[in-house]
């Protein structure tokens, strides 16, 4: 079992809905509303940005997706985001991305850096967008993001037709200016129409951003240096069990 498996073993088709299942009952709606009123839900209330961008599967770069990030800025150097496949209330949670400044990135080991991707092209090309937010307001945040690196694990390959989250997590790569990193124009067009924006206009406006060029010392965007991506395999192992009754 691997993130690069071509197509999952077949599942019953039913009505084709993703996921399959019955509409939420009134009973559950009531429970959800009660919980929402009684609980503080602090961690998820820290999400302060919605970003729409694109990502590419690291093990098959012909597959590209529109990704919606709901981002919490933890501090000047670190952001964490829940990633969805749309901005609707019915959006599927498809993964998680972590974002670090170049300063933090440089502290990572070489092996760790290979799993990360750069953001400078993604920002300057206009791919990375905060829908509904005027460019001027976002400018300083965008300039910050242009200097960051991301690590994005995708756990639900909806674009492959998976009606439930199947298989191993997949490592994602960012849009780049060359070859396999170039986002299909049709995908960009659909996104632009949906949010009434022009990626091309944004690219022009962002042309002057100072970027953090991945130097030779940085191992991000591994595929660009080597022509190789990464897949994740799931293997069975002997689970490390507790030792008898003696534990703290």
């Amino acid at each position: 079992m691997a993130s690069s498996d071509k197509a999952p073993d077949s599942m019953p088709v039913g009505d084709g809905s993703v996921p399959p299942g019955k509409p939420l009952t009134m009973g559950h709606q009531v429970i959800d509303k009660s919980a929402q009123m009684l609980q503080t839900l602090k961690p998820i209330k820290q999400m302060s940005q919605h970003v729409c961008t694109f990502a590419v599967y690291g093990h098959d770069m012909s597959r590209q997706i529109e990704a919606h990030h709901y981002i919490t800025r933890v501090n000047q150097d670190f952001l964490q985001s829940a990633v969805y496949d749309s901005n609707d209330s019915s959006a599927h949670l498809i993964g998680v991305e972590y974002i670090v400044s170049d300063r933090i990135f440089d502290t990572l080991s070489h092996e760790e850096q290979k799993l990360w991707h750069s953001h400078d092209h993604e920002v300057t090309s206009g791919m990375w967008v905060n829908p509904g937010v005027p460019e001027m307001i976002q400018k300083s945040e965008l300039e910050n993001i242009a200097h960051t690196y991301g690590k994005f694990w995708c756990t639900w390959q909806v674009d492959r037709g998976d009606r439930l989250p199947l298989g191993a997590p997949a490592l994602m790569m960012s849009p780049q200016v060359v070859n396999m990193g170039v986002i299909k124009p049709e995908l960009v067009r659909v996104r632009d129409n949906k949010f009434k924006i022009s990626t091309e206009e944004l690219r022009k406006q962002r042309a002057n951003f100072a970027v953090s060029k991945p130097g030779n010392a940085r191992a991000a965007d591994y595929w660009m240096h080597t022509g190789k991506g990464f897949a994740i395999d799931i293997e069975h192992v002997e689970m490390k069990m507790l030792e008898g009754p003696k534990y703290p």
């Binding site: 079992m1 691997a2 690069s4 073993d9 809905s17 996921p19 399959p20 299942g21 019955k22 939420l24 559950h28 429970i31 919980a35 009684l38 609980q39 503080t40 839900l41 602090k42 961690p43 998820i44 209330k45 098959d60 770069m61 012909s62 933890v74 670190f78 964490q80 985001s81 829940a82 599927h92 949670l93 993964g95 998680v96 972590y98 670090v100 990572l108 694990w153 756990t155 439930l164 199947l166 191993a168 997590p169 060359v178 070859n179 396999m180 170039v182 660009m224 240096h225 991506g229 990464f230 994740i232 395999d233 293997e235 069975h236 192992v237 002997e238 689970m239 490390k240 069990m241 507790l242």
Partner: protein, 188 residues
Amino acid sequence: MTRQVEAHHYCGHLNEDMRQCLIYDRPDADARLIGLEYIVTEELFLTLPDTEKPMWHSHEYEVKSGVLFLPGVPGPVERKDLEKVAKTYGKTIHFWQVDRGDELPLGLPQVMMALTRDGQLYPSLAKDVESRYGVSFEKERANRAYMEGPTHGIHPKANAAGIGLKTVLREIECKPSVQSESVPRVFV
């Protein structure tokens, strides 16, 4: 099994049969997003391919033992939800191993298993949660004794079919996209 983590789930329903959850290490504003979980009813779980089922775990024990609870929600409301959860299966992936002291999300994602019987959970972890939230797992266990697990029993392939699962990284040749053949390749 020797590494155990307290996890705070923030869940939403996609429909009656499926939930998706973000997992944090604390219920606080500065909590770290450490993973996610998908939760499905037994009906949906049974449609999964057999190769997929080991990555999912049952919830019957977590619910009936009392260790899984909704902080701040009154018992009767909580139990209305949990009697359904007891019959579900979950797929949990963690990305950030905070318990081993990682200050950043390093390495590969981990497929997590759930507690499935008495004697697994470290008593110190349990006591810590009980005192912070003012709950008693023993008392809840009694309140939840009426609940039932999956109608067809816990599937033998669930819970990693009794063995462990490990994620492994593999390099793979990149597949060029057809439409950008004319763009020069940069590989050095």
